[in-house]
Amino acid sequence: MSIFNFFRAAARPSAVQAKERLQIVMAHERAGRTGPDYLPMLQQELLSVIAKYIDIDQNKVEVKLDRGGDCSTLELNIELPSRDAVKAPKDPGKPAAKPGDAKPVGGSANGKAGDKDDEDEDDSSEPVKLAAGGNALTNGGIKKRR
């Protein structure tokens, strides 16, 4: 028995995967038939909110949508510019980023919403946190329950 046969036997039958994939994609397509999908708009508004604080380079924004069975994930990966590009927050009561606070954010591999472990608690008013090098990738996730 070759190693390929071994993997094949261990994997689920392809027909089972076909059914699952169809059920998921079609549930979304049927939903889309009755009303406009709000995800593109949500994505745009999110980006404009972020743009209020950071000069984001549109080419360095990666938007991924993963349509799942019970929930979909909208994942925004935004490469932050160097620190001086951070705009002062509109609210004067909230302090801007200080060098000492620099800390990586959202370091998890896939950064889905719910990966709250590495979220900062005491500095929640701070608009943006930067990694030590001045550049960081934030991973934001929004889940849409069906």
């Binding site: 039958p13 027909a15 076909a18 994939r21 169809l22 079609m26």
Partner: protein
């Protein structure tokens, strides 16, 4: 008033024309005066599958444009009483199918025929839309394969929103599934979607399961609808499907692998 049936699928090459030829022939064999129309303007093929390609003089588009009378364009089948073919144009394109033109021809046909069967082209463009617009019944031809199932669902959505019945708020177009090119052995090996999987996803009643069969190619080679090959499993499956369409309760065959007979099993053991 005759009923209008559309054989549709969204996806191309799944067996609409094969099924249209078989169904029209089956309905005529059951005594219903039937005409089958090729809506695949520019890609005429129903004539070949029905074996009347050498008798085409005028076509559907000529009739729509008033260049020929309907009676001149209709081709009477040589084998079967009650069966007629309305071929399409090989040179025009689908823009020739105006809603008014199609309606006029269909109105004339439903006065004379019990069943008017429309063989839809692939896609969801003009040709496909025109073939389903006036339908009373839709037969959704689907292969047990992801892209075909998804496209069938798209077509169901179109039927429910853009057919005449939908637009005018009439009784919806009835919809039945014809699952073709089914290979029970691959299903058993877990390599192909099961009938039940497809039914669960599309959620429409099952009209029939047509097995993958070499008889289909043999039949089209000679211009004979496969339903006339009574010895073939595909032919028998189409005959059963026609009976179900007419409201009869017929058990589904050819959905499980053919049991090896005792004889062949004994042979195997001694071999």
């Amino acid at each position: 008033m005759g009923k209008i049936i559309v054989m549709t699928s969204g996806k191309g090459g799944v067996g609409k024309t094969t099924s249209s030829a078989a169904f029209a022939t089956g309905l005529a064999l059951r005594g219903f005066k039937t005409v089958v129309i090729d809506f695949d303007v520019g890609l005429r093929n129903l004539d070949l599958v029905m074996g009347c390609e050498r008798r085409v003089v005028f076509d559907f588009i000529n009739v729509i444009n008033g260049e020929a009378k309907l009676s001149q364009a209709l081709i009477k089948d040589k084998r079967i009483e009650n069966l007629y073919i309305l071929p399409t144009s090989q040179t025009r394109d689908k823009d020739a199918l105006t809603k008014e033109g199609v309606e006029k021809v269909l109105n004339e046909l439903t006065k004379e025929f019990d069943y008017v069967l429309c063989d839809s082209p692939a896609g969801i463009e003009r040709g496909a839309l025109m073939s389903l617009y006036f339908a009373d019944h839709a037969i959704i031809v689907t292969n047990p394969e992801v892209s075909s199932v998804r496209d069938s669902d798209r077509i169901l959505g179109v039927l429910n929103s853009r057919s005449r019945r939908a637009e005018q708020g009439l009784e919806p177009v009835t919809q039945q599934l014809l699952l073709t090119r089914y290979d029970p052995e691959r299903v058993e090996r877990g390599e192909m979607l099961k009938v039940d999987d497809v039914l669960e996803i599309l959620a429409i009643p099952l009209l029939g399961v047509i097995p993958e069969s070499q008889a289909v190619l043999r039949a089209s080679n000679v211009g004979m609808p496969v339903i006339l090959d009574e010895a073939s499993n595909a032919g028998q499956a189409y005959t059963d499907s026609v009976s179900r369409f007419l409201g009869e309760d017929v058990e589904h065959r050819f959905v499980t692998p053919q049991k090896k007979g005792l004889f062949s099993r004994l042979l195997r053991r001694t071999a």
